[in-house]
């Protein structure tokens, strides 16, 4: 660890009692609490931070804030590795590890720099021009080299170990920005009793006041105001938080960086928290950002914004150079020049304007600053760092460059090209700012309802006026929420002397090349390496619309979203086109205002929490019985129950086989269940099912199919009539939610006259299907109060009985084609009923089976399920034409008669069996005429299983011509794996087509 050679002996807002150690590119350095990574690096004399995106040019620290285009680093290691973080926004902590990006093999010796030498080849449109058309194939070859040569940091490869949270917040007045005007607005609003949230991006409140010399009267003002705000219980101060998005109805997206300033988040704390905040009024006190001036080599390390220079010397007590040139086109840079000169550093000012105010000339002379009015820095010189600047005379009226005047040696060049109010949040609401020629800045024009703008964001330079405006806007925002504001609400108990208000500017964005200087790159967008020449090229090629210019050059499209480059680009394009800036307009503003980690937006909704998980009432029993689970919609269902050493395939085949030979039971609790009651229930069911339900008698169930209004099959299930006006509907597991919503829609929007009440009872009932030739023996042995004689309780019958004290509703229905019952019991009895069946089942050879065996059994019977009811198929496609009642109309009946849906050439359901018992079939395979494996084929395979009964793989699928192909052999083609399997078309009713078993 070394001393900090560029740290002033005293001053700054750092905590010198807390020395911190950190690493950059493997070397140890020292800093202080209160430093940013950037200020600590500068204190150690480190200016070279990274290599640029495209040309691998050396880049340093350009700003002191979140607008930083150059100093991007990677932080931390392993799962906490985080690329592309602006060093200017990183709060230093002990043990921080940072690394430079996009350099190879090393930051100070980057072989990729060769790209810079041949960079004319890589102008805007390089990829389009080089890799489209006949040479397109070359992209495949070159892509991996190009991807390695260009870009930002690398993504982490390990799982992020930290937690991210989401929160919802509400307030009356949201104040965005914790600078002077934002604090004033929060104070005035807070004093009225309104619930106020003040959001500040940085760790400290004060905004630009923090960049002023320490010990001034603004420090006392800041202490007074922040102290009072902290005492107000109705004011919440959220620091380290960014308002990144402004949405409809005064809803805002906030990102709170809870643990980013710590090595790891504090115990029980998330790394970051994403807030959705709803406000009734909002005050934007978002400040403004300084702009660069574009000239040759303006990206060299050692070139930075004047405001950044001022911030480093005053806030961090860092002298970023020993010999400083300040290059400006306006008054404001003099504040930085004077503060640096006061620290005893040699400062020269190159001012584009020939007429500099007498006061500033006097101040400069008094501070020992050499002033060069009417001059421009035409270019910076240096290899890895600025060593000198070429100064030429400049005619600011014509914006033309004159003769080379002198070469000024320097190791820091501060630049100020004017200011840009931060109005992105207004822009996100569609309120585009307009360009004020006189002030050379975009200012707010139309202000959306509920919004107010105050402070520097309005373009106001004077602190006193900014504070007054903040107080006023805070008061009126509180009043708009209905709070009374007392007459003294806008007075603060501390005062300050205003700095001299400096507003004069000659708006020149780019300096022309001096006649004798030779070619040097002039960068507009540092982060995407977009230069002055790229803008010229794009305009020459006709990309004159600002949106086209942006996309063709990628200007403003990097992580910084053009915060320092957009306005300069507009000014340059406007000048080249000879049109006013306002005619060009601005590009569209979209959230987020600054980069947001995807992890923060996902919050806790990852992995198992990505979507809700629904479990059957018997879930724990299944888990204890060794079930392997699979998902069906939101549900976790037993997939199969492997015996020790048994493969998944062997397990489901054993389970399915046992159902055909003895008896099995399966948990079907996930089926959707809807209780339908009311005098018009029969009429309602008659309208929503394709088949008739008005004839269903009490004590019987009926299989029903529903269509969507467009005539396509929506869902199926059985519905039982329990009493005169009471029905019990079941749906598929996956379709339950959609069916319920659609039925409610019909009742409330289309048929409000029907007296029907629907209640979802899916979670209220546990359900078990018992199936197999010995199914009746088992159920009859266990259930009392029911006559199980075939005639007394026939197929599709519904009865009520008891297992011990457990009430059971029995439906004699079958999905497997075996003699089967579905037993429904209130969810709390589910485990007890399952256990009772399990205990009683041993003598009957009972097996438990999962959804894989369930699928095998239903495919053997040709019963359609989700793979067939897949949103494109009609009743006739699935061989269910008989389900379409001709005696009535129902939802979907009219459009089911559309030409396209009754076309005889539609693909229709068939059964398929592998021609050889030795091969497997695959769902999703394309069905083709033998040997003609082209295009979409003639159909596809929807469901596949091994059939224990047939001793080979069988499938269901859809094929043009349907059952007219019965007996023929076609090819099932699976190009992804290069498989071709011969399959024979046959009836999908593979097992017991007459239904002898289930009626037995």
């Amino acid at each position: 660890m070394s001393a900090q050679p560029c740290r002033l002996a005293r001053g700054g807002r750092i905590d010198r009692s807390r020395a911190l150690s950190f690493e950059f590119d493997g070397r140890s350095y020292a800093g202080f609490a209160g430093d940013t990574l950037a200020s600590a690096l500068l204190a150690n004399g480190v200016h070279l931070i990274g290599r640029s995106f495209k040309y691998h040019r050396p880049r340093g620290i350009y700003t002191a804030g979140l607008e930083e285009p150059n100093a991007l680093v990677s932080l931390r290691r392993g799962g906490r590795h985080e690329p592309n973080v602006a060093a200017t926004t990183v709060e230093l902590f002990d043990g921080l590890e940072a690394r430079s990006q996009n350099s190879w093999p090393a930051l100070d010796f980057d072989l990729m720099r060769v790209i810079d030498r041949v960079s004319r080849v890589f102008a805007s449109g390089f990829y389009y021009k080089t890799f489209m058309g006949p040479t397109r194939g070359a992209w495949m070859f070159y892509e991996k080299f190009i991807r390695r040569a260009t870009g930002f940091g690398t993504p982490p490869l390990e799982r992020d170990p930290d937690r991210y949270e989401k929160g919802h917040a509400f307030c009356d007045v949201l104040v965005v920005g914790g600078g002077a005007s934002g604090l004033a607005a929060a104070l005035a609003a807070g004093r009225s009793g309104a619930r106020v949230v003040l959001v500040e991006d940085g760790a400290d409140l004060g905004g630009s006041l923090l960049s002023r010399p320490t010990g001034g009267d603004t420090d006392a003002w800041l202490r007074t105001v922040v102290g009072e705000l902290r005492r107000l219980p109705n004011v919440r101060l959220m620091t380290r938080t960014t308002v990144f998005g402004a949405y409809d109805n005064l809803v805002f997206g906030l990102l709170e960086r809870v643990g980013d300033h710590l090595p790891v988040p504090a115990p029980e704390q998330p790394r970051q928290r994403y807030w959705v905040l709803r406000a009734r009024q909002v005050v934007l006190a978002t400040g403004m950002l300084e702009r660069p001036i574009v000239f040759g080599n303006n990206d060299l390390p050692g070139v930075m914004l004047a405001s950044a220079g001022r911030s480093y010397v005053n806030r961090f007590a860092v002298i970023p150079g020993r010999k400083i040139v300040v290059f400006t086109n306006n008054d404001t840079a003099y504040a930085a020049a004077l503060d640096l000169a006061a620290s005893g550093i040699e400062v020269a000012v190159v001012d584009l304007r020939s007429a500099v105010s007498a006061e500033l000339q006097h101040d400069a002379r008094h501070a020992g600053i050499a002033l060069h009015p009417g001059c421009a820095v035409a270019r910076a010189n240096g290899g890895m760092h600025v060593r000198s600047v070429e100064v030429c005379t400049f005619d600011s009226a014509q914006a033309t460059i004159g003769d080379a005047k002198l070469r000024l040696p320097c190791d820091l060049l501060l630049v100020s090209g004017g200011w840009t109010p931060t109005l992105q949040l207004l822009g996100q609401r569609g309120a585009k700012p307009v360009y004020d020629e006189k002030r050379a800045m975009f200012v707010a024009a139309e202000i959306p309802r509920g919004y107010r703008v105050t402070g520097s964001a309005t373009g106001e330079p004077g602190l006193r006026l900014r504070v007054a405006s903040g107080l006023k806007q805070g008061s009126t925002a509180a009043q708009a929420c209905g709070f009374a504001v007392s007459p003294d609400a806008e007075s603060v108990g501390a005062t300050f002397h205003d700095e001299r208000i400096m507003t004069d500017i000659t708006p020149v964005a780019a300096i022309p090349d001096p006649p004798d200087a030779g070619y040097r790159k002039k960068f507009v967008d540092f982060q995407h390496d977009v230069g002055f020449d790229d803008i010229a090229l794009a305009l020459r090629e006709g990309y004159e619309s600002i949106e086209h210019l942006k996309r063709y050059t990628t200007l403003g499209m990097a992580l910084d979203q053009g915060k320092t480059s957009s306005v300069n680009a507009l000014a340059i394009a406007a000048r080249m086109l000879g049109r006013p800036i306002n005619e060009l307009g601005t590009t569209t503003f979209r959230p987020p205002y600054r980069p947001i980690a995807i992890g923060a937006l996902a919050g806790p909704e990852t992995g198992l929490h990505f979507k809700p998980i629904r479990r059957s009432p018997m879930h724990e029993l299944h888990a204890r019985n060794g079930a392997v689970f699979t998902t069906a919609g939101f549900w976790l269902r037993p997939w199969y129950y492997p015996k020790p050493g048994e493969s998944p395939r062997d397990a489901y085949i054993r389970e399915a086989d046992a159902v055909r030979k003895a008896v099995g039971m399966v948990d079907v609790s996930s089926l959707g269940k809807i209780d339908v009651q009311g005098p018009d229930a029969a009429e309602f069911l008659n309208r929503v099912y394709t088949n008739g339900f008005d004839t269903l008698v009490i004590g019987k169930a009926r299989y029903g199919v529903m269509l969507r209004p467009d005539g396509i099959v929506a869902d199926d299930g059985t519905t039982s009539r329990l009493s005169e006006n009471h029905y019990f509907m079941t749906t598929t597991t996956v379709g339950a939610g959609k069916v319920m919503t659609f039925l409610e829609y019909l009742l409330q929007t289309a048929w409000p006259e029907l007296r029907v009440q629907l209640t979802s009872v899916t979670s209220q009932w546990a359900a078990i299907a018992v199936a197999g030739p010995r199914g009746r023996d088992l159920v009859a042995a266990l259930v009392r109060d029911v006559d199980f004689e075939n005639a007394a309780f026939p197929f599709m019958g519904v009865r009520h009985g008891h297992v011990g004290a457990i009430p059971v509703r029995l439906l004699r229905v079958s999905f497997s084609g075996e003699m089967a019952y579905e037993l429904y019991t209130p969810a709390g009895f589910g485990e007890a009923l399952w256990q009772a069946l399990s205990d009683a089942g041993q003598p009957f050879g009972l097996v438990v089976y999962g959804v894989e065996a369930l699928g095998a059994l239903r495919i053997e019977k040709g019963h359609v399920a989700g793979a067939e009811i897949e949103g494109r198929t009609t009743l006739a496609d699935m061989g269910l034409a008989r389900m379409a009642s001709k005696k009535k109309e129902y939802i979907g009946s009219a459009l089911s008669r559309r030409e396209g849906l009754i076309d005889g050439n539609r693909q229709q359901l068939v059964g398929l069996e592998a021609a050889s018992s030795a091969v497997a079939l695959r769902a999703g395979a394309i069905l083709c005429e033998p040997g003609r494996h082209q295009g979409h084929g003639i159909g596809f395979v929807s469901s596949v299983t091994y059939s224990p009964a047939l001793g080979r793989h069988i499938a269901m699928g859809f094929v043009a011509g349907g059952m007219s192909r019965e007996g023929t052999v076609i090819d099932a083609v699976f190009p992804l794996r290069g498989e071709v399997t011969a399959v024979r078309v046959r009836s999908p009713h593979f097992v017991d087509p007459e239904g002898v078993r289930l009626n037995a």
């Binding site: 709803r278 209004p709 467009d710 829609y745 409330q748 109309e889 939802i891 009219a894 559309r898």
Partner: protein
Amino acid sequence: MLRITCPFCGERDQVEFAYGGDAASVFPDLADADLDRWTDAVFMRDNPRGDHREFWQHQHGCRQWLYVVRDTVTHEIKSTLPAREPRRAAATHEGRKG
């Protein structure tokens, strides 16, 4: 993000609701099996600039369907009613598609 005032539950966030389609198009009577009228009702939609009548369901609340007038330019919710009411009351002037 929208804030929708459910006539049954009060003002709630958009995340509690599900959009349920254009409320200007309503199903014809089932007995009316006219293909064109059903095609209009199921497939044809206006895309107005300004007021748009639409159905929303308070899916994670009372599950009632609502009839909402929303401005497609400003996203302002102009009014909310139980979905049953306009259908009952205004079969007359809502039937502009017919």
